[in-house]
């Protein structure tokens, strides 16, 4: 039978097999056991990392909520002085930043890390140490960032940090640097999580779980992670640009020297608006699953929902400049963004109608999750409608920067993310707690939060339309704003009371467990409700429908008896089954790494590196950077560990290879995803170059001579050849030792890239261009900085390759590490060519 990979689908008929011996379960428990005591911190299993992630994200939610209460107390009456103006500025900046960067995105990733392996019936996500690194980087970086508030160094320029307010001239302290370096670092963590999720969803699904049978949450997480990969590089770039402008006086945003403050807004909002959908989409995935369970019927319009998720993902990238209508954007440009802003409401509408139809077609059981689900539909719809209003340019001009916008964004984010999160917590807490939360208390939590939200934010529509600007620390009496603000403050405390009640109930009843959970409280039909341990499910079932537990009541027992794929440890190590991206056909067995302190060490020292940069302790920053690199290399050293066994029985006599290379391997997918991230940073840097050349073409100068350009391109082409040649030589040594030549070729390629970069930089300097003199100089040399970063990584990789060869673990004819290093160096060469060519061919004015 023809298939995606050549796998014979008739083999699925061999399952369920006979029950397997119980001893195999004990083997699985031993192999997947987590360390005890303080060593628990080195655990990488998704059950632990996901739980820590959720708790930490919720902690930041509470902290940011307390800041909001502080602001509401200050605004409860006019002319109060509870918070001074500087403190108030820090409060609203930290509230927005923490909610967006330290709660919303991490909370969603946390739920993904927690739920996805079980939902897909994988043993774990494919790179558990990357998950652990992402978590620790987030925890350490986020905590240090938040603590800046207590020493008066918290950022105070608003959560979007517009220059010139945040340029060194107007914000000379290090408050802004905390934001720039802190957020840049935390985004690295988010991207690490996104790569994990993309590869996890596409490559570790249970056999037979085609794209069309994937749980909606997995679809949503796939779209979410792809959006992160495309959008987040933009914020990483713009934080780098502003930090470099502040530290080294490169004028990216200085209009007097050929820069432009609006460049920041373009780069920030290219990330910032998709961010809203990045937050909403996973919550929508959770909603889609919960409405089906609440109504105990299949989701109406599964494929329409998928269509809506994908459409939202695409169209959300065409709306960033609707945050800039009040700048001097040309009318036609504003029109494009206005049109896209309204168009994006179409797929959102599709989803809402599918949820309503599902609820209407089934019989609703009014539990706490059901209340939160229905409540979030109501709130999100209200926020969406005001979103369409502010999508219209003339209305936006009136409402821009007023409390109307504050009301709109809170309705959207609370309805689109916070309420679904609470619904999800109630719905899935049975997976991780040995005791159920009280449904009675849950109803109180819902009604307090629901009422509190409307009492807080509905009056803000009015105060905004009456002209109250946002981000002011007080207002004058006698302008009819007093009562509205007092009502908002009362509402905020009602909402806080609901959250406090939730915390009390959690303290009373929630008890974390990995093996004694209360289980499927609400009758969900997807795989996460199979009996599980730290190894996830005992065996990995063949999937034939979207709600297998509803369609096959015997499935939990059969899975627990080991009657499907991987009923034991086929290699004696931690492992999972890698399946094909479209139809989830089994492809090979992936060996997985176990607990390790290295991801923790890498995260701590990466955080130390960024913190040292913030306080300008450059020597300590270099030390931290070196330790972080060594820790990272030590962590990945164990992840490509050849074993003698090259094939494994994955159940029912079906044999699969172990650890392969090339396009079929999960490592290839992860590397390519990472290259998309790096490529997007480069793409946005080129956008900055073209943008500034269009705005300030008069400062653009003649490029270096063409002959020099040809030489640089030639050197980079040689490096590209080397990147391919190293792998080719290794392939020719099949059956023999790898010896030195393959890594020497890769090292030579990295050296060539260094030489090409040196030629490029010196060429521009000799042509009279300097990075501090003009927007052109800043952007051209920024391209060199970006190229320098990837070349530095390429050099480290080549040295790492040499060490692996010296220890005799470079397998022939193919090797995962060689494959990754070669491809990365090849990418560096191609990026170098583009960065060399573009500014020299398109010199603008």
């Amino acid at each position: 039978m023809k298939s995606e990979t050549g796998f014979d689908h008739a083999l699925y008929d061999r399952f369920p097999t006979e029950a397997r011996p119980d001893g195999e379960v004990r083997d699985l428990e031993r192999i997947w056991a987590s360390p005890k005591g303080w060593r628990r911190l080195t655990a990488v299993n998704n059950n632990y990392v996901g739980f820590w992630y959720i708790v930490t994200a919720f902690g930041f939610f509470l902290a940011a909520g307390v800041l909001a209460l502080g602001m509401r107390i200050q605004l409860a009456a006019p002319m109060q002085d509870v918070l001074g103006v500087d403190t108030y500025n820090q409060f609203f900046t930290m509230h927005g930043t923490v909610m967006m960067f330290l709660f919303a995105v991490p909370a969603v990733e946390a739920i993904g890390i927690m739920l996805l392996p079980q939902m897909l019936a994988a043993r774990d996500l494919p790179f558990p140490r990357l998950s652990a690194y992402a978590y620790w980087a987030y925890f350490v970086g986020g905590t240090m960032f938040f603590l800046s508030l207590f020493v008066g160094l918290a950022p105070d320029g608003g959560w979007f940090m517009y220059p010139p307010l945040t340029s060194i001239a107007f914000s000379p302290g290090i408050n802004t640097d905390f934001w720039l370096l802190g957020i840049g670092f935390i985004e690295i963590s988010a991207i690490a999580g996104a790569i994990e999720i993309i590869v996890g969803v596409l490559r570790t699904r249970a056999p037979g779980m085609t794209l069309d049978k994937m749980p909606m949450f997995a679809w949503a997480m796939l779209v979410f992670a792809v959006m992160i990969v495309v959008a987040f590089p933009s914020v990483i770039l713009c934080t780098m640009l502003l930090e470099i402008e502040r530290a080294f006086n490169w004028p990216f945003f200085d209009a007097t020297r050929g820069g432009d403050p609006l460049l920041w807004q373009h780069l920030f909002w290219f990330f910032g608006h998709p961010e809203v959908y990045i937050i909403f989409i996973p919550a929508a995935g959770l909603m889609s699953m919960m409405v089906a369970t609440v109504a105990q019927t299949e989701l109406v319009g599964y494929r329409l929902n998928v269509l809506a998720l994908v459409a939202t993902g695409f169209i959300s990238f065409g709306v960033w400049a609707h945050h800039m209508f009040a700048t001097d954007m040309p009318r036609v440009s504003a029109g494009y963004f206005s049109a896209a802003s309204m168009a994006v409401s179409l797929p959102a509408g599709i989803q809402v109608f599918c949820w309503i139809a599902t609820l209407a077609s089934g019989k609703i059981r009014w539990s706490t999750p059901a209340l939160f689900v229905v409540g979030s539909v109501v709130i999100f719809t209200m926020g969406g409608l005001t979103g369409v209003m502010v999508g219209m340019v003339p209305f936006d001009w009136q409402a821009h920067d007023t409390y109307f916008i504050v009301a709109h964004l809170h309705y959207v984010l609370m309805g689109g993310m916070v309420f679904p999160m609470f619904a999800a917590f109630y719905h899935w807490h049975g997976m991780t707690s040995s005791r159920a939360l009280s449904d009675h208390v849950g109803r109180w939590v819902f009604w307090l939060m629901f009422a509190g939200l409307h009492i807080t934010f509905f009056p803000m529509h009015l105060s905004g339309l009456m002209g109250m600007p946002r981000r002011i620390y007080t207002y004058m009496p006698g302008r009819d704003l007093d009562l509205l603000n007092l009502i908002s403050t009362i509402g905020a405390f009602i909402m806080a009371a609901g959250i406090l009640l939730f915390l009390i109930d959690c303290t009373r009843r929630f008890r974390f467990t990995v093996d004694n959970d209360v289980g499927n409280l609400y009758g969900g039909g997807t795989l996460e409700w199979l009996p599980t341990g730290l190894y996830s499910t005992r065996s990995i079932p063949v999937i034939t429908s979207r709600e297998p537990l509803w369609d096959r009541p015997d499935l939990p027992r059969e899975v627990a008896e080991g009657r499907y794929f991987l009923p034991n440890s086929a290699t004696g190590h931690r492992e999972t089954l890698i399946t094909s991206p479209l139809f989830a056909e089994p492809q090979y067995v992936q060996l997985m790494p176990g607990p390790s302190a290295w991801p923790l060490s890498a995260a701590i020292f990466t955080a130390g590196f960024f913190l040292s940069l913030t306080v300008q302790a450059y020597a300590f920053a270099i030390f931290c950077g070196l330790v972080a690199v060594v820790s990272t290399l030590r962590w990945v050293w164990e992840t490509d560990r050849p074993i003698k066994q090259d094939r494994a029985d994955i159940g029912a006599g079906i044999e699969m290879p172990i650890a392969i290379t090339g396009p079929q391997s999960h490592g290839w997918w992860a590397l390519n995803t990472l290259l998309v991230v790096v490529g997007m940073i480069g793409f946005m840097a080129l956008f900055a170059y073209f943008y500034l050349s269009g705005i300030n073409g008069e400062v653009w100068q003649t490029p270096p001579p063409l002959g020099e350009t040809v030489v640089i391109l030639g050197v980079e082409a040689l490096a590209l050849l080397g990147a391919w040649g190293g792998r080719r030589v290794l392939a020719l040594r099949s059956g023999r030792m790898a010896e030195d030549l393959p890594w020497i070729i890769q090292a030579a390629a990295a050296a060539l890239l260094t030489g090409a970069l040196w030629l490029d930089v010196t060429g521009w300097l000799e042509s009279g261009l300097h990075p501090t003199e003009s927007g052109m100089g800043a952007t051209v040399f920024m391209l060199s900085v970006l190229q320098g970063q990837v070349v530095a990584v390429a050099i480290v990789m080549a040295i790492y390759l040499a060490f692996r060869e010296a220890r005799g673990i470079m397998t022939t004819p193919t090797n995962v590490t060689m494959d990754i290093v070669g491809r990365f160096i090849g990418y560096c060469a191609i990026q170098g060519m583009v960065f060399t060519l573009v500014p020299r061919i398109f010199p603008g004015g």
Partner: protein, 94 residues
């Protein structure tokens, strides 16, 4: 049967991605033109030409769908077409 089902799936998801990629391409071209040639007839002309090309591409994708047309694939094309037409209006009204 399984083959037909799988290739049907693949067609749906491929069409969906292509439909929105066409929208994305149209948006980038139209906005890019407005950025490079602000306030000129050239920018509007580029947007209109891009819209025509996008509509033709959507039409080709629709034409190539098997009969009866898969609802979701056809719906994706419709949604993308609506977004393209909507997104071209600023160039038409100037």
């Amino acid at each position: 049967m399984a083959d037909r089902y799988h290739s049907h799936d693949r067609l749906i998801y491929r069409t969906m991605l292509l439909a929105f990629a066409i929208w994305g391409g149209h948006f980038i071209l139209a906005y890019g033109a407005a950025l490079v040639f602000p306030g000129t007839a050239t920018a509007n002309g580029i947007a209109l030409i891009a819209a025509c090309l996008a509509v033709v591409a959507i039409g080709i994708l629709a034409f190539r769908l098997p009969r009866p047309r898969p609802t979701i694939a056809f719906g994706s094309l419709g949604l993308s077409l609506a977004a393209i037409v909507f997104g071209t209006l600023p160039a038409v009204v100037g």
